[in-house]
Amino acid sequence: MHEENDDILEQITSSEYKYGFVTDIEADEAPKGLSEDTVRFISAKKNEPVWMLEYRLKAYRHWLTMEEPKWPNVEYPPINYQDIIYYSAPKQKIAPDSLDDIDPELRKTFEKLGISLNEQKRLTGVAVDAVIDSVSVATTFKEELSKVGVIFCSMSEAIQDHPALIQKYLGSVVPATDNFFSALNAAVFSDGSFCFIPKGVRCPMELSTYFRINAANTGQFERTLIVAEDEAYVSYLEGCTAPMRDENQLHAAVVEIVAMEKAEVKYSTVQNWYPGDKEGKGGIYNFVTKRGICAGDHSKISWTQVETGSSITWKYPSVILKGDYSIGEFYSVAVTNNFQQADTGTKMVHLGKNTKSRIVSKGISAGKSQNSYRGLVSVAKNAGNARNFSQCDSLLLGDKCGAHTFPYIEVKNNTAVVEHEATTSKIGEDQIFYCNQRGIDTETAVALIVNGFAKEVMNQLPMEFAVEAQKLLAISLEGSVG
């Protein structure tokens, strides 16, 4: 039985990564390695104002004093930071004035990924910022959005066109000094998205950023900033893919969200970076800092993530619940297969009164992978009547993988109610055989069970992406049964 199962496992987990192609396009690159010169190079490339360069240099100097974190439950050989290219931009003949001027190769790349940069062929109600390697190549629906006062543009543009907003908010939630990777990002980030929803505006469409790594030996360091003023609402989606390469590539992003009074921001991620091959060779190191602050009373930030890619994931989308009655949510499905490692979870920091948080984490491990949930719920001394509910479920496929849960709870106010529930289950041979006996083959059975397991989180995704994400789950796990 075991032998046979391993066969099926081998067979089906070998399903190819669909987005592994490389676009052959001329790129404008920084020389390999990291120094103050690299930072200056990037800043100059982007024609940045002095304050931005200063910000970067300060971050870089701080980074030099820091050490890579060793506490995550992941293993990888030391990263040589001098062996990475920190800036790579596809050479476009001219900076495109309109969407029609985009290099056809780039347009094709995104079309292959299912992202249309053509507004006529758009996904209904979704505006896209498309980022390839270090730069944003196009943002759709800018005009339509600006009519209602929503700013949606690349970070580079925002630095030029909205310096006051950037100076006010950049680093306000995740300071450069926060951690090793956020410092690195602050020093060398090259692009990303900026999104500003003014007071009282409900953003009329889904906003999304699609990140694509293309060039070899480069790192991707993008920066996203979302600000929702009083009573504003936005739903934001992030997707990502990368070519298949034998070397590991570093992705160290920072996402910051600010929600003012009664504002609501919903941030969804479908993360599908190249996970490496079956032997664990290659793949993206996904070291990301995501944090939002519920700055105003009655505000709400909700993170939903479906994590299927990357060889290593290190990421804890968090919410600082500063405003009274604010709400933080974290819904996560993390899938690891083959040799993937994930250490992911959230931090809910209750500072205001009557704040609420909800954590639903579903970890699915297959192959020889390791999947850890790491979460912190903290309630400050003055945060009266804080409520938290955490549900952490693990599903194991086969017996060579691991699931781990590290919940940390720090409560300094005795009116707090913090609940934590955890379960671990395994897809058993008996369950698979039962399905087989009803005419359902093993692949379909696994998809059925996994989607059932992850349902509560998948239901949180915007409709347009839920189906896609469901398929992705099934593909990432095909056949991993034991």
Partner: protein, 253 residues
């Protein structure tokens, strides 16, 4: 429809089936009885294609095909159904959704269009009446937290939905109260036709009052040692297995 010829199987070096011969024709009901551990569930599992068991000899023909060559799911889609002695629980997957997948997988195999939601529901309503199963049970996760009797009834419900050619019921009567027993038997009888057949594993003659078998076989130590009509079951009810055991053990000695 089903021809088992000298079937032998083992699990982890232990011989369990030691040469089973059985011939089932369309329209027939066969009952298999026998002491605990004699190999009844093993026979059912081997026929369904459970891979823990290694077939070491013999052959099985099902609907003109070599059954042992088919994957478990293809056996199912060819029309073989096993009502499990111990149905498993699958959390997170609703019973309705599960059955819908099963029905549509089978239709796909047969080259038919999948049923749309409305057709499926109509079909389900009809079959629900047949086995008197409640809607609320079907919207719950498959078998999760079901009582023993509810699980068994759910097996029969699935059988009704899938309309198999050959249904193997492994102790579906165990753990059922009198009313449930009658309902399950009733369901079987209504599904019975000249084109399908049943292989009913049971310990109790009582079930055979409701589902009247054409043949009764006694399985002992991995062989069918006696075959007869429903009278054989009545005889066993009175005398127990001892007399057969004694005879067989003597023959073997």
């Amino acid at each position: 429809m089903l021809k088992i010829n000298n079937l032998q199987a083992r699990i982890e070096e232990k011989e369990i089936l030691k040469g089973i011969n059985l011939d089932i024709k369309p329209g027939e009901i066969h009952a298999i009885m026998g002491p605990n551990g004699s190999g009844k569930s093993t026979l059912a599992s081997v026929l369904a294609g459970r891979s823990d068991y290694e077939v070491t000899g013999g052959s099985v023909e099902f609907m003109g095909k070599d059954l042992l060559e088919l994957s478990p799911e293809d056996r199912a889609k060819e029309g073989l159904f096993l009502a499990f002695q111990y149905p498993v629980e699958i959390p997170g997957v609703s019973t309705t959704n599960f059955i819908k997948s099963a029905v549509n997988e089978k239709r796909k195999y047969l080259g038919l269009e999948p049923l749309d939601a409305a057709q499926f529901l109509r079909n389900m309503k009809e079959k629900m009446k047949l086995v008197e199963i409640d809607q609320s049970l079907l919207s719950r996760s498959l078998n999760e937290g079901f009582s023993g009797g509810e699980k068994k009834r759910n097996e029969i419900f699935q059988m009704a939905m899938l309309e198999p050619k050959l249904a193997i019921l492994d102790e579906t009567d165990s753990g059922l109260d009198i009313d449930a027993l009658r309902i399950v038997a009733n369901g079987v009888n209504q599904l019975r036709s000249k084109d399908n057949a049943f292989l009913v594993v049971t310990h109790y003659q009582r079930l055979l009052d409701y589902i009247v078998p054409d043949f009764v076989h006694v399985l002992y130590k991995g062989r069918i040692v006696r075959s007869g009509t429903k009278e054989l079951a009545k005889e066993l009810e009175v005398k127990g297995y001892d007399f057969i055991k004694a005879e067989v053990d003597q023959e073997l000695a």
